[in-house]
Symmetry: C2
């Protein structure tokens, strides 16, 4: 058991080191040697957990997919809003998420398939929008796959713009404005009127997610 | 006069070479030596036109701002649509525009201010949306600066997503879907009903822009 905990910790250390090296140098220029040095671990340990640089990068990319669920809300559309807000907040505050998003947007990363995050976020969006549709939350002509892709694509660009213009300081504001522009084309007016799209929601959803994670951990320790 | 033409040509050669080197290596890793080799020109010629690597990069960034005007339309909002469509088409077909957009999205480019293209595109959008507003083309609660930023930011991300997923093949489709989602939040319904947001518009607007450029050139030769 202690060994397993140690292995999980080592994997985490290597992953954090890889995230940092990819963020500083870009995927192309980053080397396993740099990652080993940053992690302070052996080649053997690294290759026990990851078979290649691309494998490491895919693991970093996948880090942004964690905790993309929020508690059930009265409206499924609010869950979509909250997932987007939560992601914006984590992008501002969590170095691992920031590294994962930057790697997703690393257009020089030859040989690294970066479509994964776009497709996985798109699938989350489609699933929730289809549930919203089944509950009558969308307008009749809404196409879940199209709306999901617009939200995912727009988010990607808005975070780039926010980074280039002011190092993410206005990210949550921009995301709130984007949602207010996009959602009325897909969401029924009566549902729109009940949504909370305020910027302040991002920090609140994040605090709630943290609390839930803590409670689950405590429950696990008892059980 | 012949000398002036030669100087313009040399500047163009250097700019194309710089665009290519920045696209392949990224801003950070690109060197003046590589650009000189690609351009087949002398250090003296390069420094006559550009004072530094950043100066070169800013000139490449500015290349995407050219021909961002389209002929007047009945609705100002259609002009915005056409500028966005034209940019999508040029991004698919013009290596210089592609290089400029990729440089804009080069998050590793330390020491290079990449906010320019975002801000300049935003200004074009605000100006046209304010004109549209003055003509009564927008809904009463529309905020031109917000809508302009949503369009510019969303475009940036949608082109990244299209590049990562299928090397720009579906770019125009995605842009058309994005506009259909964003515009109804800002544009008056009666104007919306008259807009052409079809994918096929991109190629048509491009052909028209080429034709106008040719006609102006011919006029210049006569005058």
């Amino acid at each position: 058991m202690a060994e397993q905990v140690r292995a999980i910790r080592t994997r985490r250390t290597i992953l954090s080191a890889a995230a940092k090296i990819f963020e500083v140098h870009g995927y192309q220029a980053a080397t396993i040697t740099q990652i080993l040095k940053e992690a302070g671990t052996t080649k053997g340990a690294l290759y026990f957990h990851f078979v290649s640089k691309e494998d490491l990068a895919q693991a970093v990319l996948a880090e942004q997919d964690h905790s993309i669920t929020v508690p059930p809300r009265v409206f499924k559309v609010q869950e979509i809003v909250d997932i987007v807000m939560l992601h914006a907040h984590r992008l501002q505050t969590d170095p691992m998420v920031r590294a994962a998003v930057r790697l997703t947007m690393d257009q020089l990363a030859e040989g690294l398939d970066r479509s994964g995050p776009f497709l996985r976020w798109g699938e989350v969006g489609v699933r929730l929008l289809k549930e919203a549709q089944a509950r009558g939350e969308l307008v009749p002509h809404a196409v879940p796959a199209e709306t999901a892709d617009v939200i995912v694509g727009s988010f990607a660009g808005i975070q780039s713009m926010s980074q280039a213009v002011c190092d993410y300081r206005d990210l949550v504001t921009r995301v709130s404005v984007m949602l207010r522009h996009v959602l009325p084309s897909a969401v029924a007016p009566s549902v729109l009127a009940s949504l909370d799209l305020a910027e302040s929601r991002a920090a609140r959803v994040y605090a709630e997610a943290l609390e839930t994670a803590r409670a689950q951990k405590a429950l696990g320790a008892v059980g």
